[in-house]
């Protein structure tokens, strides 16, 4: 079947099998491999992308269901103005280790901050509670999101490769 959708602002059209999962469509066909796959059962959240501005687990969305809608992936977080503060925050606060859950975590974090620009620790924990990280123990992810909340206006962050 034919599917047409907007991905990170670009319109894409493709011929797909009707059963194709959105995560596989993004990864295998569009080669947007920043969105990962981790569990099959909607538990891990490493596949989180936005569908019309809402975070969804793309392992349980058919690509066909995204037809006519807007998808945003981790590749769409960085703009001409630079990195999203959430991306900066994860680097600044060691919010990632292996990096596998990171795209999904950042997409959820961005959605949270768009609705609630100043979330407290508990609100952040609840927002990411549908996602699993095996490396960080979550505290640094919470700090990363708080960093993004307090640097929403693009304050120059500490450069990578420096020390403090």
């Amino acid at each position: 079947m034919q599917v047409t959708m907007t991905v990170n602002g670009d319109e894409v059209a493709a011929e797909i099998e009707g059963r194709t999962l959105l995560v596989h469509f993004l990864r295998d066909q569009l080669r947007l491999t920043g969105t990962h796959w981790g569990c099959d059962t909607s538990n891990c959240g490493t596949c989180v992308v936005w569908l019309d501005g809402e975070p969804v687990k793309s392992c349980t969305v058919l690509a066909a269901m995204a037809g006519g809608h807007e998808v945003r992936t981790v590749e769409g977080l960085e703009t001409e103005d630079g990195l999203d503060p959430v991306q900066q925050g994860f680097m600044q606060c060691h919010g990632l280790q292996c990096g596998f859950c990171t795209p999904g975590m950042m997409m959820t974090a961005r959605a949270l901050l768009d609705r609630n620009p100043d979330p407290d620790e508990q609100e952040i924990r609840e927002a990411i509670s549908g996602q699993i990280c095996r490396c960080t123990g979550y505290a640094t992810i919470v700090r990363s999101v708080r960093w993004a909340a307090t640097h929403a206006d693009g304050v120059q962050p500490e450069p990578v490769g420096s020390t403090s």
Binding site: T33, F100, R134, A139
Partner: protein, 802 residues
């Protein structure tokens, strides 16, 4: 499936790696060099590779735990229009590839030929044009099983009437895997006989699974013309894997290139060689095309390396004043259907011998029997430092049982028995030589950070109100950094690590490692180790790893060995380069070598700081046209292989505070204080991250995680709906601290930190829960302490999980 149009991919990272502004450069907090690609979704993991003409492999797995294979009919699968090949065990047997060695010198079926021995075992594989078609075709394979009685409970594995699982082994008539013992049985018995107090406790450390976010998989690409196999694979030990593939497949080792790209976590799960890798290699050899195999989550949980599964009887002997005299344990180890333990050959129980803990004992003894059962193979995985987590859990749990018996505060009991600073190096009663430590200092710092005395007062107050608050303490010593090659090898491969450092003419550098990060941040840490020694900023040092064609041989990353072994190699290779640089500098400054002084990044003439050359100047001279001192070759590079003289022994003191809901028996971890001593600290930010992750593992194992089986051998933890892993809501904001007691034999004094918290935290959590349940008379309850199991304990009948 064809794409008509594609969106623009994200732009390439543009961050400059600004120079480390720490002067001098080197150790210290530094943001990670690998992060710019990860935060853009530009990490490159195994499943991200898509080669031209690539085919997809899927594995048919046994639905039952124990059965004889009667027939495998693949005709319908072969007729599927998108299927390129269907391979069974019989096909592999014709090529002599149906069995492969495990890392413990056992054998494991690549595809079953005679019987299936655990649920999820590999029976056949399909190669097809896309991943969906490959899975479709699995449904078309018709297998007839003659179902046999399974051995599920390890306690019954050696019963005379137990079905024999490993009838593939010549003359095998039972399910015995191995026996092992350590310590002095008679001396221990003598000490127990004279002790005032003896406490016994049965303690189970149930089977768990590391479940990294990225499952296991590979892309195998065999080039017929060159005869070269390239394997992109989820491997923590690419060099060891390459050697095993050479031995198994008969391909010459120089024609195999193993590339371990970005790994989405490992935790030991990516140490073993799994049948799926071998299947993909066979498929690429047969079809002449690149072949990708990626397991799904259920396959990962039911068939790949599990961890723990020790049924332990612990005994501790002490004086009535609380001086611990001896510890004795009898262990029944469940190794599953094949002994796939990844541990040094002489250590079939890993480093469980450190069960004497952090205490100065008179005697100790352990006797272990390992058995086969109809469960997935494995045995050492999940950040356990080769079974030290089981050892630490045993000793820290039973010390708490002793404290309960003596009615002593558990901290007081520990303080009374610690190995004292002046006793290091300390040889334990099981023969381990602890390198350095000041345990009391670390314990007291954790008490201070936790406000221990105030917590006890609060607990007393809450108990009066009927609230269940628990405070749990654990103190662990690890033995990591395997290891000295005279004692330690895996499949005959010594556990030394190579390292190569090359300084380019412009003073930039590349360091090539034998180890492989799974998220620990090697690209940053190792750049810092080299920077500290040679004075080149970390941003100017490229770290190459995870590619056997481009790195020196070494045994990989597990057992917290990267910093203790390869970290030492990196420091020493940099010093070797610096020694050569010193000679070149002496020529440049026209003074003798003895007249030069090194300040990080440059040599200057003693007493004349203005007369100096930088390492960058020296690098250009080393590659330039001018004369070099007599006997010195051009270039500025070196390679070494580091053979550790001993293991390193990081340690820590952990305090956990829990609240248990008396109505629902749900445990809430309110606080967790972790004070670690990993010797010299290279990057405190990364160290903290390693600790946080391990603490989360510990809470998960203590409260939630278990791979259980029903009586038919069906795995009950086969998805993330069934195998519960902590989310952000189950863990607190971690509180960390540190002391620094360098390792005396490590070149920079670093001891390793990767697994400390996973090892040290489970007993702290369990001790806290048991402490909370004291009003109910509970002395012990086994993990996982789920609400129903805690409720059972509160009702007076705590039950073992297996």
């Amino acid at each position: 499936m064809t794409t008509v149009t594609a969106p623009t991919a994200g732009r390439r990272p543009v961050d400059k790696f600004d120079d480390n502004d720490q002067k001098p450069v080197g150790h210290g907090r530094m943001l990670r060099k690998e992060d710019p690609r990860f935060i853009r979704g530009m990490g490159k993991y195994c499943d991200d590779f898509q080669l031209p003409g690539m085919l997809h492999l899927a594995i048919l797995r046994s639905p039952v735990a124990h059965a004889r294979l009667v027939s495998v009919d693949v005709s319908a699968a072969q007729a599927h229009p998108k299927v390129k090949a269907v391979i069974t065990g019989a096909d592999l047997a014709e090529k002599g590839l149906a069995w492969m060695p495990t890392l413990s010198n056992d054998v494991q079926a690549v595809l079953a030929t005679d019987k299936v021995r655990f649920q999820g075992q590999e029976v056949a594989f399909v190669v097809a044009e896309d991943r969906y078609a490959a899975r479709d075709a699995l449904e078309l394979i018709d297998v007839e099983y003659d179902i046999l009685a399974p051995v599920v409970d390890a306690r019954t594995a050696l019963s005379p009437d137990a079905p024999v699982i490993r009838d593939d082994l010549d003359g095998k008539t039972d399910n015995h895997c191995f026996d092992w013992q350590t310590g002095d049985e008679a001396a221990t018995e003598a000490v127990f006989a004279k002790a005032d107090v003896v406490v016994k406790q049965d303690i189970v450390y149930p089977r768990v699974h590391p479940a990294p976010m990225e499952t296991c998989g590979c892309v195998a690409d065999y080039e017929r013309v060159d005869g070269k196999l390239t394997l992109w694979t989820t491997s923590q030990a690419p060099h060891a894997h390459r050697t095993v593939y050479a031995l198994v497949s008969g391909l010459p080792e120089h024609k195999i290139r193993v590339i371990s790209p970005d790994l989405g976590g490992g935790f030991g799960n990516k140490v073993p060689i799994y049948p799926g890798y071998v299947c993909a290699i066979v498929a690429s050899l047969v079809l002449g095309k690149p072949v990708k195999w990626m397991e799904d989550r259920s396959e990962n949980l039911i068939s790949t390396g599990f961890a723990r599964d020790y049924i332990m009887q612990g005994e501790i002997a002490a004086t009535k004043e609380g001086k611990i005299l001896a510890i004795r344990t009898n262990v029944l180890a469940d190794h599953g259907a094949f002994n796939g333990t990844a541990a040094p050959v002489k250590y079939p129980a890993g480093f469980f011998g450190v069960f004497t803990g952090s205490y100065d004992l008179e005697a100790a003894y352990c006797k272990m029997t390992a058995v086969y059962t109809n469960k997935a193979p494995g045995g050492v995985a999940y950040a356990c430092s080769f079974r030290i987590t089981e050892a630490v859990y045993l000793v820290e749990r039973i010390v708490d049982c002793l404290a309960d018996e003596l009615k002593m505060d558990p901290v007081e009991l520990r303080l009374k028995n610690f190995i004292r600073p002046e006793q290091f190096p300390y040889t334990t009663k099981t023969g381990w030589v602890y390198d350095s430590g000041d345990y009391e200092k670390t314990m007291r710092l954790s008490m201070e950070l936790a406000g221990y005395d105030a917590l006890r007062r609060e607990q007393a107050e809450r108990r009066r109100r009927g609230e269940l608050m628990g405070i749990g303490v654990s103190f662990f010593t690890e033995a990591v950094g395997a290891g000295p090659r005279k004692d330690m090898d895996i499949l005959g491969l010594g556990m030394a690590d190579g390292c190569e450092l090359r300084i380019h003419p412009t003073g930039k550098a590349v360091v090539r490692l034998a180890v492989k990060t799974q998220g620990q941040g090697h690209e940053t840490t190792f750049a810092q180790i080299v920077a500290e020694e040679i004075g080149i900023p970390p941003a100017d040092i490229e770290v190459v790893h995870g590619d056997t064609d481009n790195t020196p041989f070494g045994l990989g990353t597990y057992g917290s060995r990267s910093t203790p072994v390869s970290g030492a190699a990196a420091a020493l290779v940099a010093r070797k380069v610096r020694d050569k640089a010193r000679i070149i500098a002496s020529g440049m400054l026209e003074v003798s070598v003895a007249d030069l002084e090194w300040t990080k990044g440059s040599f200057h003439v003693k007493g004349d700081p203005g007369s100096s050359v930088t390492i960058q100047d020296i690098a250009m001279r080393a590659h330039g046209a001018g004369d070099l001192p007599e006997g010195i070759e051009g270039g500025l590079e070196a390679q070494i292989c580091y053979n550790p003289v001993n293991l390193t022994y990081p340690y820590g003191a952990y305090i956990c505070v829990v609240d248990v809901d008396p109505g629902t028996a749900q445990v809430k971890v309110r606080r967790f204080v972790a004070v670690d001593d990993c010797g010299t600290r290279i990057n405190p930010m990364i160290i903290e991250g390693q600790v946080h992750g391990g603490l989360t593992d510990g809470v998960g194992m203590a409260l939630m995680q278990i791979i259980a089986f029903d009586e038919d051998g069906n795995c009950l933890g086969g998805s993330l709906m069934d195998y519960l892993i902590p989310t952000a809501l189950e863990v607190p904001d971690w509180e960390t601290g540190h002391t620094v007691t360098p390792s005396p034999h490590h070149p920079i004094g670093a001891k390793g930190i990767g697994e400390s918290a996973t090892v040290g935290s489970p007993p702290a959590v369990v001790n806290a829960v048991v402490d909370a349940l004291k009003p109910y008379g509970v002395r012990h309850a086994d993990m996982p302490l789920t609400p129903s199991r805690v409720w059972d304990a509160m009702q007076g009948h705590p039950t073992p999980p297996v």
